[in-house]
């Protein structure tokens, strides 16, 4: 059953969807990849609230402005393509990015460093320890898309029985699948003459980071139930903070209701660890 009543509280996933949606400008071409229901929902939320002129390109189907009746558990499903106004070819989408016409892309990583470099390819530098699924078109788009929103719902790095933490936000990536603001040999994006400007937001389940002048992740906001010390403890590198560090802005009841209507199967919760799914926030 879909709950149609006005929500008085919302979940972490719903807050994260709203945080990602807030990074999306009206009137741009934005593209989401696959395996990213939080981002899919953020795009649909943005399109139905502050960004009605958004050119929403769905990952995998390459449908433009689809109106899926519900979020499917996999991305290349006709459900996700329903109502699409038109379609791109795979080459067309990437050509648009290469020519500077994709305004925003959304990327994640199993390792994310302070510059926004990310790894979704492999763990282990010398020897392959864990083969990750791979980055799809993330490598190309991290260079070419005008702006990148990074997200992860697994920033928290609880210590193992030996007290060691396997950080998601790491000192260095074992493999650079997608580039941020500084290459491993210290070159900036302008040195590299990339088409796009790189990541400007990093949304996690603990806080929101922007990137400072040097291109370094900088804490901009924390969730109401999170202390800055907790963010530091769970981050593998030191980071600066904005002077006007704020509390994460919570969605309105209408937005929360919209997200629930868009995702009746709660597919997006599969991106969250069970303990994170239990977090609740008031909405007014």
């Amino acid at each position: 059953m879909i709950d149609r009543s006005t929500p008085s509280s919302c979940s972490l996933g719903e807050v994260m969807i709203y945080q990602i949606a807030r990074t999306i400008e009206d009137g741009i071409v934005a593209f989401h990849g696959f395996g990213s229901p939080l981002v899919q929902l953020a795009l649909h939320l943005a399109k139905r609230t502050h960004a009605p002129r958004l050119v929403l390109v769905a990952g995998a189907t390459y449908g433009v402005n689809p109106t899926p009746p519900f979020l499917a558990p996999t991305t290349n499903d006709w459900v996700m393509d329903r109502g699409a106004e038109c379609h791109l070819d795979i080459e067309e989408l990437f050509d648009l990015a290469a020519s500077g016409r994709v305004g925003r892309m959304f990327l994640s990583g199993l390792q994310i460093d302070r510059w926004g470099n990310m790894n979704v390819t492999r763990l282990g530098q010398e020897r392959l320890k864990l083969k990750l699924p791979g980055g799809g078109g993330g490598c190309n788009l991290s260079c070419d898309a005008q702006h990148v929103t990074i997200w992860t719902a697994a920033h928290r790095a609880p210590p193992d029985p030996n007290g060691r933490r396997r950080f998601r936000l790491v000192e260095g990536c074992d493999f650079v699948t997608s580039v941020g603001h500084r290459t491993t040999d210290g070159k900036t994006r302008s040195d590299m003459r990339y088409r796009g400007h790189g990541p400007d937001w990093l949304v996690t389940e603990l806080g929101i980071f922007d990137f400072d002048e040097a291109g370094h992740a900088r804490l901009a906001a924390v969730y109401p139930d999170v202390e800055v010390a907790e963010v530091r403890k769970n981050t593998g590198f030191e980071f600066p903070m904005r002077e006007d560090l704020s509390s994460v802005v919570l969605p309105t009841p209408e937005m929360v209701a919209l997200i629930r209507a868009l995702d009746p199967l709660r597919v997006h919760e599969r991106e969250l660890r069970p303990e994170e799914r239990a977090r609740r926030f008031p909405v007014t």
Binding site: F34, G35, S36, P37, A60, T61, Y62, G63, P69, F70, A72, P73, T74, T75, N76, D77, W78, V79, D81, H87, D89, I90, E91, F94, A97, A98, T121, R122, L128, K129, L130, K131, L132, P133, G134, G135, G136, G137, G138, C139, N140, L141, S142, C143, D144, F175, V176, T177, S178, V179, T183, T184, M192, R193, Y194, R195, P264, L265, V267, R270
Partner: protein, 306 residues
């Protein structure tokens, strides 16, 4: 050019176009329109040492890895998304070293195929520099553009030996009609030396003409009519993604290589010499009819995934 009037053959014959050690491009993407019946036949024939190239894949590549037929992978993604997670057989094969890992990225692949399609030695791209894909792919070169002076990456032409596709319709001549996202199928067909296809239904050319030709016949080497040939991935409008069967697949694959062979491959591939026997093994008409219920409306569609 493949100009024979009649490209039809049976599934066994179709897969004989794939040879040990071939560079193979598999059509479809993720849980959509994977040529699964053709891949099961490939496994039965034990054609191995395959070098895979592609964009975003899942059960297709994972199953070939589980059957031990893959030598290397230059896919850009292999997994089951948030639905089930990482690809168990693919992971094991990569981590044990039986599959050499040459991950690529979607646009890089697109440009390599376009070079092959145009008969050029390479295509330039601006991205990839500064990532670990450069040392992973020593065949990528850089140059300074003679017009703008900027540094570009040159990616070499990629001509797969064979593309294996599954489409909804074709005619006997080999014209293919793909309804819904073609993913990289059209690029694969144009770039590959050999193109083999399974289709849900072969129809007279006049009928195919009306719905439109996605891939012209002369690219297509041979084809076979295989209804439900993409199962358990989807082939709309005929059937949705079989999430239940995929869950069973995933459980078997997660329990290790031996369990996967004994419980999944034995039950659904080696133990089913024909596609008809596969359809019986998955439960016959009942599950297949269920997958067609998506057309009855949003509630029925959603129930398939609940």
């Amino acid at each position: 050019m493949y100009s024979e009037a009649n490209k039809r053959c049976d599934l066994k014959t179709l897969l004989r176009y794939v040879r040990d050690g071939d560079c193979v491009a598999i059509g479809g993407g993720l849980s959509w329109r994977e040529p699964m019946a053709a891949l099961r036949e490939l496994i039965r024939q034990g054609i191995g040492g395959l070098r895979l190239v592609g964009s975003a894949h899942g059960i297709d590549v994972d199953m070939l890895c589980g059957a031990g037929l893959v030598a290397s992978s230059a896919e850009s993604y292999v997994g089951f998304e948030q639905d089930f997670g990482m690809a168990p057989n693919y992971r094991r094969a990569c981590e044990s070293g039986t599959v050499e890992v040459y991950d690529s990225c979607c646009y890089t692949l697109v440009q390599q195929l376009r070079a092959a399609i145009a008969g050029l030695p390479f295509m330039p791209i601006r991205s990839v520099r500064g990532t670990s894909f450069m040392p992973l792919h020593p065949e990528f070169k850089t140059m300074f553009c003679p017009f703008t002076g900027e540094e570009l990456v040159l990616v070499p032409a990629l001509q797969p030996d064979v593309a294996i596709l599954h489409a909804q319709y074709s005619d006997a001549h080999g014209n293919l009609h793909i309804e819904g996202p073609p993913v990289a199928d059209i690029l694969f067909a144009r770039a590959s030396r050999t193109v083999i296809a399974t289709v849900e239904k072969i129809v007279p050319h006049e009928q195919l003409s009306e719905i439109g030709v996605t891939i012209p016949y002369f690219y297509v080497t041979a084809l076979t009519e295989v209804p439900y040939g993409a199962h358990p991935t989807s082939c709309y409008p005929f059937y949705a993604y079989d999430r239940r069967h995929t869950a069973e697949y995933y459980r078997c694959a997660s329990e290790g290589a031996e369990v996967f062979r004994a419980r999944y491959l034995q039950s659904y591939v080696y133990g089913c010499p024909s596609h008809a026997e596969y359809l019986e093994a998955i439960g016959g008409a009942e599950p297949l009819q269920r997958l067609a219920t998506w057309e009855q409306g949003v509630d029925a569609w959603r129930d398939l995934y609940d």
